[in-house]
Amino acid sequence: MKRYQIGSAIFLLLFGALICFEAQRLEIGKITKPGPGFFPFWLGFALIISSLALTIKSSREKGEPSSLSAGMWKGLHWGKVLFCLTILVLYACLLESVGYIISTFLLMLLLFRTIGGQRWLLVVLGSIITSFATYALFRLWLQVQLPVGLWGM
């Protein structure tokens, strides 16, 4: 929909303005001797110009709603996305204090069951297998560092 297109263009415009403002605080320098703020400043400026053009272009477009935006949220379970994101953020926060195996087990349990909609038996077995198998694969075999956390797990 047109509104969304204009909205996203204006968002980019503001982002560009913010970059310009922040860049001039860094020292732009002269064209003969560009400073650290030189490149970001002109990029911010270019973003302002291109998003202005985008705003004008999408406001001129006649009502023709593009296929994706029209049904952008309709009929989709975007609540699942929000839920999934929350779990992942929690995982990132708890990973180091709780340890890899336990936090991964809980993560898999939640994802398989709530969003994946699998049966409990499969959920529990699957979570145990994935958390231990990936630990064996990455930590023991490939020697990737994974957090230990509680009880040395």
Binding site: G16, T32, F39, L88
Partner: protein, 502 residues
């Protein structure tokens, strides 16, 4: 004789057991993710990047490259059997491949896709061997001025070839360049846009960025909708195409291979566009174009050959100029960098083991794929039956492990999640991630080259037009921008003239 000496040397490197194993793992994983929809080579290569830290540079690049061209093989399998392209580069294969499967000719379709890929992939490797060394010699003379102009040309191509809106692609490229400036200034080491964050001091990591934009966001988009998988039940028998099939496909494979290789070299093309062009070309050249879309074997052979040759072509600018022509190559550049190797004109002379080892490994990899794919098709088909509810938590977990293990920093996970959301919203608002990632990767090079050029020329912007190579690249770039405008206004003028006449 030098050439053969180099090739023999390359094979002596790529046939070492550890490298052979790396190659095998690469093509195997590549085929696997090529078969699975919802995860592509870009995300996979970033996930596996930390795993390669312990490997030698040569082995890890061999493995990474294997994932890329392996995915091209895998993608075709699902296109033919299920009508779902595992990779975007196999979309065209669906048209005739699936029709062939429905007519009970799934075997020959899979067979010609594998053989065609093999022949074209081989053609591409030979192309690299001949083209890369002289190009590298030429590139040795490039300074910041030439580099800057070539980058401008690359960006023009990338945005010009971007999907629906070129303006949006331009905006995304600029955002990518801006994101690339986060971290220490490359010339005077002053922190920029870090706001006291230690994680951001080194800049935004390529791996969290790519995994967020291509891995996590893809999962988000999939879980909010409903994915339905339907497997076409067919008994696959006789994978070997018959004599007539070979006769029909010989020229399409050759043309597709050549076309794919040369198009693949150009920035922004990737492996997808050549498949469409070669399909169109074959349809036009064919004596019976009406058969296309109804199970013509040429419609499978040509695009499958083109996408494999294109992956080889894409290696050329990366290995010789250090400029990746597409997103996958950008991740490969990241792999080079983590091992402290700078791809570019000096690669052939400074790291001949890597250069010739990787190039020849693509040949052994192609042989392995041929051996691996034909008998294992049954296994790949079974794999397709794994429901997404089981698949997506695993994809997410691999992203999490991959991104954490780069630096053992949980904040990198946060960066990845942020870009997961950004990528999700970008898809909703119809912005493409590819120009952003390309610009992000090249950002540092662009900034350094423009600042060095300005210092060298004492602020004189005309310097970019006074150096012949630089001027040539800029003229090409401007032509790319203005030619379509002229064309469309020309077309409109003709139309108006006709209307006036009528």
């Amino acid at each position: 004789m030098d050439f053969f000496h180099n090739i023999l040397y390359g094979f002596s490197v790529s046939l070492e057991p550890s490298n052979l194993f790396a190659c095998f793992v690469g093509v195997f994983i590549g085929t696997l993710i090529g078969v699975l929809p919802g995860i592509g080579p870009t995300a996979t290569m970033s996930i596996l990047l930390p795993v390669t830290f312990k490997m030698t540079a040569t082995s890890s690049i061999i493995m990474m490259a294997g994932i890329y061209y392996g995915a091209m093989y895998g993608g075709s399998t699902t296109s033919i059997l299920v009508n779902i392209p595992g990779e975007a580069a196999s979309v065209v294969t669906c048209l005739d491949g699936y029709q062939m499967a429905r007519q009970g000719r799934a075997g020959p379709a899979l067979g010609i896709a594998a053989f065609g890929s093999f022949i074209a992939g081989t053609l591409g490797v030979v192309g690299i061997m001949f083209l890369a060394p002289p190009l590298a010699t030429l590139a040795l003379r490039f300074g910041p001025i030439e580099i800057f102009s070539i980058l401008i040309f690359s960006f023009t191509m990338i945005t010009y070839l971007a999907g629906k809106s070129k303006l949006k692609a331009v905006a995304m490229a600029i955002v990518g360049l801006i994101l690339g400036t986060v971290g220490l200034d490359p010339m005077v080491s002053i922190p920029r846009f870090t706001y006291g964050s230690v994680t951001l001091m080194d800049g935004i990591g390529l791996i969290p960025l790519v995994m967020g934009l291509f891995g996590v966001s893809e999962v988000f988009l999939n879980i909010e909708g409903k994915i339905e998988q339907e497997i076409f039940k067919t008994h696959i028998k006789g994978l070997f195409p018959n004599k007539q099939d070979w006769k029909d496909s010989a020229m399409p494979i050759t043309r597709g291979g050549l076309l794919g290789f040369f198009l693949g070299i150009l920035p922004g093309i990737g492996a997808i566009i050549p498949t469409f062009i070669s399909y169109g070309l074959e349809k036009r050249l064919s004596k019976h174009p009406e058969k296309f879309g109804k199970g013509a074997i040429e419609g499978v052979a040509a695009p499958e050959s083109a996408n494999n040759a294109a992956t080889a072509g894409a290696m050329v600018p990366l290995l010789t100029l250090g400029i990746p022509p597409n997103v996958v190559m950008a991740v490969l550049l990241g792999a080079f960098m983590t091992h402290g190797v700078q791809p570019g004109p000096l690669l052939v002379t400074e790291h001949p083991d890597i250069f010739w080892g990787v190039v020849t490994s693509m040949y052994t990899g192609n042989v392995m794929l041929l051996i691996l794919n034909l008998p294992l098709i049954g296994l790949w088909v079974k794999l397709l039956k794994v429901p997404y509810g089981i698949l997506f938590p695993l994809i997410l977990l691999f992203c999490l492990i991959g991104v954490y293990s780069v630096d053992n920093n949980p904040w990198d996970i946060m960066v990845m999640l942020v870009f997961g959301v950004v990528g999700y919203l970008m898809k909703k608002f119809e912005f493409e991630p590819a120009p952003l990632v390309m610009a992000f990767v090249l950002g540092r090079l662009v900034e350094e080259s423009v600042r060095q050029s300005l210092v060298l020329s004492r602020g004189d912007l005309t310097v970019f037009f006074r150096h012949p190579i630089s001027c040539g690249a800029l003229i090409l770039a401007f032509t790319m921008i203005f030619l379509p405008m002229v064309f469309s206004s020309f077309k409109k003028a003709v139309q108006r003239a006709k209307e006036a006449e009528g």
